[in-house]
């Protein structure tokens, strides 16, 4: 456990935690507004900004690079909005165009810097894939500052953001500046991207925005709970990814953080109370069992009614043939519930079943519920 005291690992874990918090909170709004892939576009569009920041500052200055990333991210979002609002192109084409063209511009600028022979350019690549180990304490201060600003904005405009996310039309009718608020939410995603660039890189940033929010959504049905949970899940995934990558050599931090967050999504989808797939599967299996029991019971009831004999012993093979499937397990369950009992019907050796009084009551209840009780 002493590796946890390592200076670099502490830096990485703190950075990852910050990233988890900001992307969880802002991602919640993006996912609810059906703009999940905005994070993907903005993170790719940050690349030209990183390069421009570097060109202007002349060195690998964190402040300049992040400012550049923020500006081109916002420019890409604007480009996307103008394109989709004023033409017949749909959102997906707008997002894809902004993503790929801005990224291409970034590649062009990257090669421009490499060919200009600036000795300080080493490490710009790290923004592509993230290089968590290269994070410095001073970088952490910048990332922390950005996170605090974003969180403060969310707290101050909480009511407005909530309303715009759920019912923009109503928000407009109340006189809220809806477009300004939407732009603010979009640009704030760019803030999360800025924090994540060094940590997980441009490609994986998409999942960082989406995964914690989707996981949190399974557990929460109130925005307050969802946002807090998303921040916690994001933070936990970040720290977990950082710690695991410190355990083994050659394990990149970014992918591990993403895998941790995605594992949280899968677990949440499975076991979240109420919405969990596991619970639903169990509920369905239970319903299916109950239905099958009711069908076999009413079959026995009808056979008895048809023979005018409440104690009519129905042969198991006949019940099987009637339903087209083996019914042994269903019969055993009904027996355990005391609704039927097994009898011998000499001279035959095969199992036979008769209804008990409680079985008759149950069968009559089921049939009357179906509304077609027969004599």
């Amino acid at each position: 456990m002493e590796f946890l005291l390592d200076y670099t690992i502490q830096n990485v874990a703190m950075g990852a935690a910050l990233l988890g918090i900001i992307s969880g909170v802002l991602g919640s709004f993006a996912v609810l507004r059906k703009q999940s892939l905005l994070g993907d576009t903005l993170s790719h569009a940050a690349l030209p900004g990183v390069c421009l920041g570097f060109i202007i500052a002349g060195t690998r200055d964190m402040g300049a690079i992040l400012a550049g990333a923020l500006i081109t991210g916002a420019a890409a979002a604007l480009f996307m909005l103008v394109l989709t609002r004023n033409s017949r192109l749909k959102t997906d084409a707008g997002l894809g165009t902004a993503l790929s063209v801005f990224f291409a511009l970034g590649v062009v600028l990257l090669t421009f810097i490499q060919n200009s022979g600036n000795a300080a350019q080493g490490g710009l690549d790290s923004f592509l894939f993230g290089q968590a180990a290269a994070i410095l304490r001073s970088d952490l201060w910048v990332m922390g500052g950005v996170t605090v600003v974003a969180l403060a904005l969310v707290v101050v405009f909480w009511k407005e953001f909530k309303l715009v996310s759920f019912d923009p039309v109503f928000a407009r009718s109340l006189g809220l500046p809806v477009i300004a608020l939407e732009v603010a939410l979009t640009v704030m995603i760019a803030l999360a991207v800025v924090v994540g660039l060094q940590m997980v890189g441009v490609v994986l940033m998409a999942a960082m925005v989406i995964a914690p929010a989707v996981a949190a959504r399974q557990w929460a049905s109130r925005l307050e709970t969802m946002v807090v949970l998303a921040a916690l899940i994001g933070m936990a995934s970040g720290i977990l990814g950082a710690v695991i990558s410190a355990l083994g050599r050659g394990l990149a931090t970014g992918p591990l953080i993403i895998l941790a967050a995605s594992a949280a999504v899968i677990v949440s989808l499975m076991i979240a109370p109420g919405r969990g797939l596991l619970w639903e599967a169990m509920r369905q299996a239970q319903n299916r069992r109950r239905l099958r029991g009711a069908r076999v019971l009413t079959t026995l009831y009808r056979l008895a009614a048809h023979h005018d004999n409440p104690d009519y012993p129905a042969e198991e093979a006949m019940v099987d043939a009637y339903h087209g499937v083996g019914t042994t397990r269903v019969l055993k369950r009904l027996e355990a519930r005391g609704q039927i009992k097994q009898v011998q019907h000499a001279p035959e050796m095969t199992p036979h079943w008769v209804l008990t009084p409680s079985g008759i009551t149950e069968a009559e209840r089921v049939l009357s519920e179906l509304g077609k009780q027969e004599g």
């Binding site: 033409s87 084409a93 165009t97 993503l99 063209v101 291409a104 592509l128 999942a207």
Partner: protein
Amino acid sequence: MLAAFFDNVPLMIMLTGALVGIAATLVGTFLVLRGNSLLSDAISHSIVFGIVVVWLLTRQQSGPVQILGAALAGVLTVFLTELLANTQRVKNDAAIGIVFPVLFSIGVLLLNLYARDVHIDEHTVLLGEIGFVWLDTFDLWGLHIPQSLVWMGAMTLVNLAFVTLFYKELKLSTFDAALAKALGFAPGVIFYALLALTSATAVAAFDSVGAVLFIAFVIVPPSAAYLLTDRLWLMLGLGSLVSILSSVSGYYLAVALNVSIGGMMAVMTGVFLSLAFLFGPRYGLIAQVLRRRNQAYVNECRTLAVHLYNHEGGPEAGEENVAAALREHLLWGEAKARNVLLRSYDQKLIERQGELLALTPRGRALAREILEPWAQGTGTQTMR
């Protein structure tokens, strides 16, 4: 002669770029029309996973096995995305954004763990370098044919054959999936085939342009073409044209500025899209503005005609049907009033009788057409 053709490096580079663009446009057109073009984003990232797995199994870095493996990875991405979306608990776009980073992460981790010494590093996979396509060649009949060119050419032919053979089916399942299903065309199968071809094209292209720039070629040329035409075949053709133009112009610009060739080609697709967006004949921004302004002009002339018609021959005509009244009664500014009058003169809707503005027969017909549409047929004239 042939040898000179294949040894011409700039030509080889531009041709490869153009083929990437054409092959991508052929499949991308349908993705853009269906509104799920971002699947190409997911596919092009998760083929990294397919490439690494195939490499670990077969130690082959390129060739048909790689293309097949990547195609399967692409289909796996789409399958997982639909699986996630079908739980009804995750929206479709969110599902895309979770699945491909997971596959990409696993690919990168496998690469880190088992394939440190191979040349397929993440950097090449993501960016590609089209400038070096002439380094790896097949030697056939004494010719040095670039490998990328061969693979891209083959993919272009396959995509072209697919689109030609299944043109009707693709068209129907893109524009009316329900009808296609009712007619027994299996739109689901067609869709998966399209995505498998997209992934195969992506892996054939990633040596030259890389995964991210490939997205530009899938989405941007078809989008540009979509802004220019309503015809599907024309959209395919225009998209291919945009790809060729981007490839050629991108190459020369990149050489002039000494920057990444693939990057510049992708940037040029964006430039052409912006041009189509601004100057497109029907859907372009400028055309939209002009159309709106023309409509405004037409409406102003109609307003004037109606105003004059209402007061024509009445006792107040002397007061209402004069130029000065337009400012007070229609609240038009002086410049606007003058412009409307001039346009109406030009179109012979009104004429001047001393101080009075009078309708010509043509202007009167226009006013009556607006005010008494039921009285059609009495010498109606529409103003175009």
